[in-house]
């Protein structure tokens, strides 16, 4: 009764949780506008039946995961297959009866399969733990949740096996069974049967302190065959529980049969309830989100999304497996910037919170925003994602989602923006974001216009590259610059010309050089540097100035 109440309650919580999730996913399905195909990828049109079959194969056999690595695939398939198996034969009794006939729970195949599936899950968990530990040095990040989910699964299966062991060794369970189904009341027959169960089925009986004699066991075996074996297969088929009973049986008996029985039972029940409750609220929700997401993808349904909330379904399908991070082209920028949000798997974790409407703390927002811009748009994450998420598209859209809050992002000025110059979808947002950075530079950086003249000669040196010392102002750099020649009044447009920038450095006015618009108009063609008669590394110096300008302005938050 208590058990049913507990399970009933947890199922209710689970259903409510799923409804909340479904509500979160709804913007995707009711998005306005025409569907758009992946911009560069040709969408392969399949018939609905083919799409459906592909979907079934995708979900059951997980070819995407196989491509990510056979070890990884095996790990997940062990857990998935074991779990589905347990659900079918153990979790839904009517289904089990259909498969194994009535008395199904005591048939040999049922007992064997139950433990086989359980051990498959356990093996999968061990392999997952090994993987997470081994790949730590390859930047695979494991969160508390990842470990907790694995622990929960382990406890659920482990407590089930323990419950089997306790029941098998329990004398009270045995006598009750004997009372209910036993065919003989004769004392010597009873004793022989018990001897057989002690010797072969790991029963712990107070009547047998030491192992029973083989004669008695043989006698018991015959009785067992006549009266028990028709319905009750050998406990040894239940090899997991049997091993536990064989090793810990006496310990359980000492603990008190009743107590340890109830303990194991409630433990298993509580873990089951926890699992059901955790399903919609943890990454376990991927069990539902991945098939839905793949279904959508297989049918080429890709609506024009308004805002990040439309990605809630896709984000929930993320299992934080880290395959994207292992293949990420930008992974080294994580090492130099120390920002974990560079790694796609970690970006997704922050985006999950954002898509659910949570207001991230300022520090996290900054981290996420910078992570979103330190992306080379190589789209490998979309290709490898085992859950079939179009991460690349999500990341591009998310860049502008955060900038809508009138944020500055100087990292826009990296060549990471090059692929974005092809995207017509976001060109307006991109231009607006660039304008904001320009404003930021106006206020944060020194400008020649308005500076007190004549410029003072300072001792401040630009340490990054000292080749500017050899400049003798021949202006070759300015004369050959393809950018300078574009303008009728270049000084007005560029604020300082290349030779003037070098001169500013030579006179110690480094901050003026850092603030000049010229450095952001440099096409980095290296003509100036190649032609400089005195070997001033002009273009490289400009790169150094750009680095410094960005460095000075990355601390800025909102406009």
């Amino acid at each position: 009764m208590k058990a049913q109440l507990l399970l009933g309650l947890s199922v209710c919580v689970c259903l409510i949780g799923l409804l909340v999730r479904l509500y979160g996913w709804s913007p995707f399905f009711i998005s306005s506008g025409l569907p758009v195909d992946g911009e560069n990828r040709a969408s392969h049109k399949k018939s609905p039946i083919a799409s459906f079959l592909y979907w079934i194969a995708d979900v059951l056999l997980q070819p995407r995961l196989f491509r990510a690595g056979d070890f990884r695939w095996m790990t997940h398939l062990l857990i998935l297959a074991g779990f589905v198996g347990l659900l079918v034969i153990h979790g839904i009794p009517p289904l089990a009866n259909l498969l194994f006939g009535s008395h199904s729970s005591m048939s040999a195949s049922h007992l064997f399969l139950r433990d086989l599936f359980g051990l498959m899950v356990l093996a999968g968990i061990v392999s997952a733990v090994v993987r997470r530990l081994k790949l730590r040095r390859f930047r695979l990040v494991s969160s508390k949740q990842d470990w907790l989910v694995l622990l929960l699964l382990f406890c659920l299966i482990g407590s089930g096996l323990m419950l089997e062991g306790v029941k098998m060794s329990s004398y009270s369970v045995y006598t009750r069974m004997n009372d209910m189904y036993g065919m003989t009341a004769r004392k010597d027959t009873q004793l022989a049967l018990e001897a057989f169960w002690v010797s072969e089925y790991a029963l712990v009986s107070p009547r047998f302190a030491s192992s029973p004699s083989s004669d008695l066991v043989e006698k018991g075996r015959k009785i067992n065959e006549q009266s028990c074996a028709i319905c009750h297969a050998s406990n040894q088929y239940n090899f997991g529980g049997y091993s536990i009973a064989a090793v810990f049986g006496h310990f359980f008996a000492e603990m008190g049969v009743k107590r340890s029985g109830a303990f194991a039972y409630y433990l298993h029940l509580i873990f089951l309830a926890l699992f059901i409750v955790a399903l919609p609220f943890s990454k376990l929700v991927h069990i539902i989100a991945v098939p839905v997401n793949l279904l959508v993808r297989n049918f080429n349904y890709s609506p024009k999304l308004q805002g990040i909330a439309g990605y809630a379904l896709a984000l929930d399908a993320c299992t934080h497996c880290g395959v994207c991070t292992r293949t990420c082209s930008a992974m080294m920028f994580f090492e130099t910037s120390g920002n974990s949000a560079v790694l796609p798997s970690e970006k997704v974790q922050l985006l999950k919170l954002a898509a659910a409407g949570k207001d991230l703390p300022e520090r996290k927002k900054k981290q996420l925003q910078q992570g979103l811009f330190l992306c080379t748009s190589c789209e490998r994450c979309s290709v490898v994602c085992p859950s079939g998420l179009d991460l690349a598209r999500l990341f591009v859209q998310a860049r502008y989602f955060l900038l809508e809050e009138k944020r500055f992002e100087p990292l826009l000025l990296g060549q990471f923006s090059f692929p974005l110059s092809f995207s017509k979808e976001f060109s307006g947002n991109h231009m607006a974001a660039l304008k904001q950075v320009e404003q930021l530079f106006q206020t944060k950086l020194a400008k020649l216009v308005g500076a007190a003249l004549p410029l003072p000669v300072k001792k401040r040196l630009f340490a990054l590259n000292s080749s500017y010392h050899s400049c003798y102002s021949c202006q070759r750099c300015t004369n050959i610059c393809p950018v300078v020649r574009r303008y009728e009044q270049p000084v007005l447009e560029l604020e300082m010309l290349p030779h003037q920038l070098i001169f500013a450095l030579a006179t110690g006015n480094v901050s003026l050089a850092v603030g000049a618009k010229m450095i952001w108009s440099c096409s980095t063609c290296y003509l100036c540097q190649e032609h400089c008669p005195n070997g001033v590394e002009i273009c490289d110096i400009f790169y150094g100035l750009k680095n410094r300008a960005i460095n000075q302005c990355t601390g800025e938050g909102r406009a």
């Binding site: 390859f138 990420c328 910037s337 393809p482 063609c525």
Partner: protein, 288 residues
């Protein structure tokens, strides 16, 4: 010839036809191309932002190649430049090498600086050689007018890229010569396609691009030849449709002379090339 095949980020996702083309043509020329799944970005997009972040990825990519004992064959000028720049810088900065190696050793890698970086053109001209290419040709072109855009980051600075004469480059012209093409003398050859400013200062990037396109048209070119994924994307994808100035890779021209078909040569990735135009070019192949 055995090379680690370095494609960078742009080619596999935005010009995948070129990846196919390069594999097909180079294999026919007897190259063994080894692909590494672990390669990352060359670091170039980070260059405006942070110097260390710019150099580290190239150090890692080279360390991967060193571990496998291969030289790198690079298809993109900006990747090539970044790898050479990292090699050049690290040769003079042992402290930075130590810092990078501390990071790389976590995944069992070590940067020594022993791997050679080969641009596709150097590999074709110096490693494979004109003779071998000549042998594989079925027919050369006749009367094809070609403008070459060299690509800034391939040519300069000369001490870093170690490529060709940076003022009067010869390699591309010689490679085209093998195919019976005399490359035109035009104003855009040594100049910038605008890619480095695209997405950062689009007006200026477009102005630089249009300057090149106009100059190529003025010299009555049949087509433009690019050696870099960035130049190609600028010239091919951002070209106003009315200009109809085809942009090709050298390997595609070479492949046609070797009798390879359009799919093998990845022409599906060239937006500026129409089927009709391809037929006219094929008609300019000398009759056997």
């Amino acid at each position: 010839m055995r090379y680690g095949f370095f494609l960078g980020c742009n080619i596999p996702v935005r010009i995948d036809g070129y990846e196919r083309c390069a594999e097909n043509v180079l294999r026919r020329l007897g190259c063994e191309l080894i692909t590494f799944e672990q390669f990352t970005c060359c670091g170039y997009p980070m260059r405006n932002i942070d110097q260390r972040g710019y150099l580290l990825p190239s150090a890692r990519n080279m360390a991967l190649a060193e571990k496998a004992g291969v030289d790198l064959l690079v298809l993109c000028n900006c990747c090539y430049h970044s790898l050479q720049k990292a090699k050049y810088t690290l040769a003079n900065e042992p402290a930075l090498v130590a810092e990078f190696n501390a990071i790389l050793e976590k995944e069992g890698l070590h940067y020594h600086g022993t791997c050679r970086i080969r641009h596709l053109y150097s590999a074709l001209y110096e490693d494979i050689g004109a003779d071998l290419i000549q042998q594989k040709l079925q027919v050369p072109y006749e009367h094809l007018r070609v403008c070459v855009i060299q690509g800034c980051h391939l040519l300069r600075p000369r001490e870093v890229v170690q490529y060709d004469n940076s003022f009067m480059p010869q390699v591309t012209a010689n490679l085209l010569n093998i195919l019976g093409i005399k490359s035109l003398d035009w104003s855009g050859e040594l100049e910038c396609c605008g890619a480095a400013l695209a997405g950062i200062n689009d007006d200026l990037a477009t102005a630089l691009l249009e300057e090149k396109l106009a100059a190529a048209l003025k010299s009555e070119a049949d087509l433009l030849v690019s050696s870099c994924s960035y130049c190609f994307l600028q010239l091919d994808r951002k070209q106003p449709a009315r200009l109809a100035l085809p942009v090709l890779f050298y390997l595609q021209l070479l492949g046609l002379c070797m009798g390879m078909n359009d799919t093998e040569l990845g022409f599906d990735s060239n937006q500026s090339v129409s089927d009709g135009w391809l037929e006219t070019v094929k008609s300019k192949l000398a009759s056997v």
